[in-house]
């Protein structure tokens, strides 16, 4: 007997502040008004998605010393939006990206524990690190964190937060009016952490939440990031959405789990995925091309080239040939507050490659940026996309996908209405929520609160 097919996990990434999001489309709505977030979340819940995902950036991006103005700019506070979304949804998981550098564990743990209570156990934390002095200028903590300390701080931050989550076990509140005992234990929430980055002690003031701890996501792709995910995370927000790259990443990260005493099903691999959906495959191809042209205006193409060249290229014509001059390989980068620039590790080689590519195809700067940019992960009719998604999951390229629509807030509607029913028909995606918490949706066991809390002082 063949084993039953894997169940697919689906999530929705609210359109972000980058050029994937097409704000110039007439259907594009507000990125700030709550109605947009509510629409998006309700669509995701209607489609029985596992969760919704919010990204975060703590300083507006700059290029050439000025605030970058070609993409969507501005977003609301992550925690505050997620708490409000808990009021307009019942089952949908609520995943927030929260930086471990410009926050303190006590405060972040309070916020996640509160969000978990207020959502009935639906919170998740995408733990990211940022280390640039540029973003630090907005914070007390500020300053610069050397690259080698990034993960050590992030790990200690998460470990400390877990100690805070686990400082309450769930049975402390008796609230018995007859005897007048509210708390079973005067030391409820006691913690003490001494480490390289944090030295804190006292009592945590939020009782244990429905999930115990938020579900933990990790998004880094480096060696350290993968190791961190294998050791600590419940899910990885990956960028490897194609078959081969996806399978390689999936096998690599899952193989690291054993050394931490974990099983492969205790860590989900969920790549980001864009899509162009239309009634027929041909229409979808046409739509995909059109959207990519919308995503890369002439001005955007020049700015994108500047990530590689690290120079002011504003004098170049986007419809003309690539620059003859070579990239500036100096330390100061023309672009700040953007993770994307680190993708180009060898700018001189990239520039050479791109020039050759453009010359061979007679591409202008804009053509080149359109063609070298990411093609949508899924392009096709509902049936084609459903097949692709299912194939990738069954072939262990992922456990599901975090969909990134290009239109706010309606960009998910068609996927929900047309693709999801096909996956449900095939028996690979839920037709109803079976549990109440995000851990339930993701098939994750509750955290063991004895893991990080070795005190053993629990009142009986």
């Amino acid at each position: 007997m063949s084993k039953p097919p894997k169940q697919i996990h689906l999530a929705a990434h609210f359109p972000g502040v980058n050029n994937t999001t097409v704000w110039s489309d007439p259907r594009a709505g507000s990125h700030i008004e709550f109605s947009s977030f509510a629409h998006f979340a309700r669509t995701a819940e209607r489609a029985r998605f596992d969760f919704m995902f919010l990204a975060e950036g703590l300083r507006l991006r700059e290029q050439g010393g000025a605030i970058y103005d070609l993409d969507v700019v501005g977003r609301p506070d992550t925690f505050t939006v997620l708490a409000a979304l808990a009021a307009v949804t019942e089952h949908l998981g609520l995943t927030g990206t929260i930086n471990s550098t410009f926050n303190e564990p006590y405060e972040v743990a309070r916020q996640f524990a509160s969000l978990d209570h207020l959502s009935g156990g639906r919170s998740a934390w995408n733990v990211v690190t940022s280390w640039d002095a540029f973003t630090g200028e907005n914070f007390r903590r500020g300053g610069f964190l050397p690259q080698e300390e990034r993960y050590s701080r992030a790990k200690e931050f998460l470990a400390t937060a877990n100690e805070l989550f686990d400082s309450w076990h769930g049975d402390e509140i008796l609230a018995d009016p007859a005897t007048g005992t509210f708390l079973r234990d005067a030391k409820a929430g006691a913690f003490a952490h001494t480490g390289q980055h944090f030295d804190i002690h006292g009592q945590f003031n939020v009782p244990r939440s429905p999930q115990g701890r938020p579900v933990v996501f990790q998004a880094g792709d480096s060696e350290e990031g993968r190791e961190f995910a294998a050791a600590e995370a419940d899910a990885v927000f990956s960028r490897h959405g194609t078959l081969e790259a996806g399978q390689a990443f999936y096998a690599d990260v899952k193989s690291r789990l054993a050394k931490y005493g974990r099983r492969p099903d205790q860590l989900l691999i969920l790549p980001a995925a864009t899509f162009a959906l239309a009634d027929t495959d041909a229409d979808a191809e046409e739509l995909a091309r059109e959207v990519r042209r919308q995503q890369v205006s002439g001005a955007t193409a020049i700015k994108h080239l500047e990530f590689v060249w690290n120079r002011d290229l504003s004098a170049y014509d986007p419809e003309g040939p690539l620059p003859d001059i070579d990239p500036d390989v100096g330390d100061d980068h023309i672009s700040q507050g953007r993770a994307q620039v680190r993708m180009y590790r060898d700018p001189l080689a990239t520039a050479r490659e791109w020039r050759e590519l453009a010359a061979a195809n007679h591409w202008s700067i804009r053509d080149l940026v359109i063609h070298t940019g990411n093609r949508q992960n899924f392009v096709g009719s509902p049936a084609t996309i459903a097949n692709t998604v299912n194939h990738l999951v069954q072939a262990d390229a992922s456990d599901g996908f975090i969909l990134v629509p290009h239109i706010t807030p309606g960009g998910l509607d068609e996927f929900a209405d047309k693709v999801v029913p096909l996956l449900q028909e095939r028996g690979v995606f839920r037709t109803e929520y079976e549990g109440t918490t995000l851990r339930d949706h993701l098939g994750l066991a509750p955290p063991d609160d004895s893991e990080s809390s070795a005190r053993g002082s629990r009142a009986s």
């Binding site: 700030i32 505050t80 808990a86 509160s114 209570h117 914070f139 006292g202």
Partner: protein
């Protein structure tokens, strides 16, 4: 009925006779209650302000950490047409004695983040203002500014904050960034210095929060397809705040909130916090025990307001009162005695404790109102009992006397409070230099 229209907002400045107007005492006179509206807020804290409140049959102590509990309380407050609710918060377990944890197990301990409670109930309400407590001492002004701006976006203009400091050494140890010396006696010179420093920091904190709210002009988002520009970056502003406690560059990542400036409020018992209120707030909560004290406090705040150069800006002074309300005054007294007996001692409070009927409380509030307080923040002793007593007993009583609204007259908290939507400080500056 027309006096409840928010004409102040339209006129751009408050009426001269309004007690919120920051002019000397003779201008703050209230000749009749109908000249200036009376504002009512309720302060939510756990099961209520009395430490034995959780033991009352109406208290729902096991629901304290659920959204439904808070949604019910705020819905009740909105049913009573109150201006806003505040939500208490803190960075450590509650304690009955300052400055240390008390390790008591017979009172409510633990709480949820107040900003997130406010946000969780915002989509479920339509008119009432939502004013969570934020602690300035160990937190980031950048985070709080965007959180309250976001609450204002979610509630379409009903957000505020109540800023407070913490001088508790145990809470400092929760952050491990600095130590705060243990305060032995309130009147000791070292204590005064520590507290003054924390309030100076809170004043800077509010300044940063406010500048960040203004760091986007209202029309900064242009979505100009012709040039491909989503924003006009000339309408975004670095705030470049530098101070002894923190420096913040800006601009915010969150566009200017619907109210422009959400409401800033603070509880104040003495000169140092009065100064914070006068320099930085839209509402100060004070705790006078009689009308003479109320007049004196209002005069001190107005003097500080003049010293800070804010005389022309509207500033509400609200009286805080703990309330135990029953239709029969004897029943209210008996309830207080019962609660005190359960707690093992009379309830100690910074604010006056009112025990009586809604009509008696209305008398009391109107006396204070005539003494210069423009509104009240009532602290229900037992949330499950005294909040409905406010909304269903006190409010109708005040309405009968013609001093409280019969329906919500504005869509924003600033509107309810008769405060104009402020111009953007950076837009104004740009206009001057242009």
């Amino acid at each position: 009925m027309s006096q409840w229209n928010s004409k102040n907002e339209k006129a751009g400045r408050p009426e001269p006779s309004s007690p919120l107007h920051g002019l000397p005492g003779r201008h703050t006179r209230v000749s009749s209650a109908s000249r200036s509206p009376l504002h009512l807020a309720v302060a939510l804290d756990g099961t209520g302000w009395h430490p034995a409140s959780w033991r009352e049959p109406v208290a729902r102590p096991r629901d304290l950490f659920t959204a439904a509990y808070w949604a019910d309380l705020v819905a009740e407050a909105e049913r009573g047409l109150l201006d806003f609710v505040t939500i208490e918060d803190g960075l450590g377990l509650q304690s009955s004695h300052f400055p240390d944890p008390d390790e008591r197990t017979d009172q409510v301990r633990g709480r949820l983040d107040a900003v997130l409670i406010a946000s969780r109930v915002a989509p479920l309400t339509r008119h009432i203002g939502l004013v969570p407590t934020v602690v300035a001492t160990h937190t980031e002004p950048f985070h709080i500014s965007k959180a309250i701006a976001t609450l204002d976006h979610i509630s379409t203009g009903r957000a505020g904050l109540r800023v407070q400091i913490t001088a508790r050494p145990n809470e400092a140890a929760h952050f491990g960034r600095r130590t705060i010396p243990r305060i032995e006696a309130h009147d000791h010179p070292d204590t005064q210095e520590v507290v003054a420093g924390l309030f100076d920091e809170a004043t800077d904190y509010v300044e940063v929060v406010r500048r960040l709210w203004d760091s986007w002009e209202d029309d900064a988002e242009i979505r100009d397809a012709a040039t491909g520009r989503f924003i006009d970056r000339d309408k975004l502003h670095y705030i470049d705040f530098r101070g002894p406690y923190f420096s913040v560059k800006g601009p915010s990542i969150t566009p200017r909130p619907p109210q422009g400036q959400p409401i800033v409020s603070a509880l104040a018992h003495d000169t140092v916090p009065y100064r914070l209120v006068a320099r930085a707030a839209d509402i100060g909560y004070v705790t006078p025990h009689d009308t003479d004290e109320a007049r004196a406090i209002v005069a001190r705040i107005r003097a500080e307001q003049r010293a800070a150069g804010r005389s022309a800006e509207p500033l509400h002074v609200f009286g805080d009162l703990v309330v135990l309300l029953d239709d029969d005054a004897g029943a209210a007294r008996a309830r207080r005695e019962r609660l005190d007996a359960l707690a093992g001692q009379p309830y100690p409070s910074d604010a006056p404790v009112f025990t009586g009927t809604p009509a008696q409380l209305a008398d009391r509030l109107l006396e204070f109102h005539r003494a210069g307080l423009s509104g009240f923040r009532l602290r229900p002793a037992v949330a499950g009992h005294d909040l409905p007593a406010i909304t269903r007993g006190l409010v109708p009583e005040l309405q009968r006397r013609g001093v409280f609204r019969r329906s919500y007259e504005a869509d924003t908290l600033r509107g309810l409070l008769g405060l104009p939507r402020p111009a953007n400080r950076y837009a104004a500056a740009a206009a001057v230099t242009a």
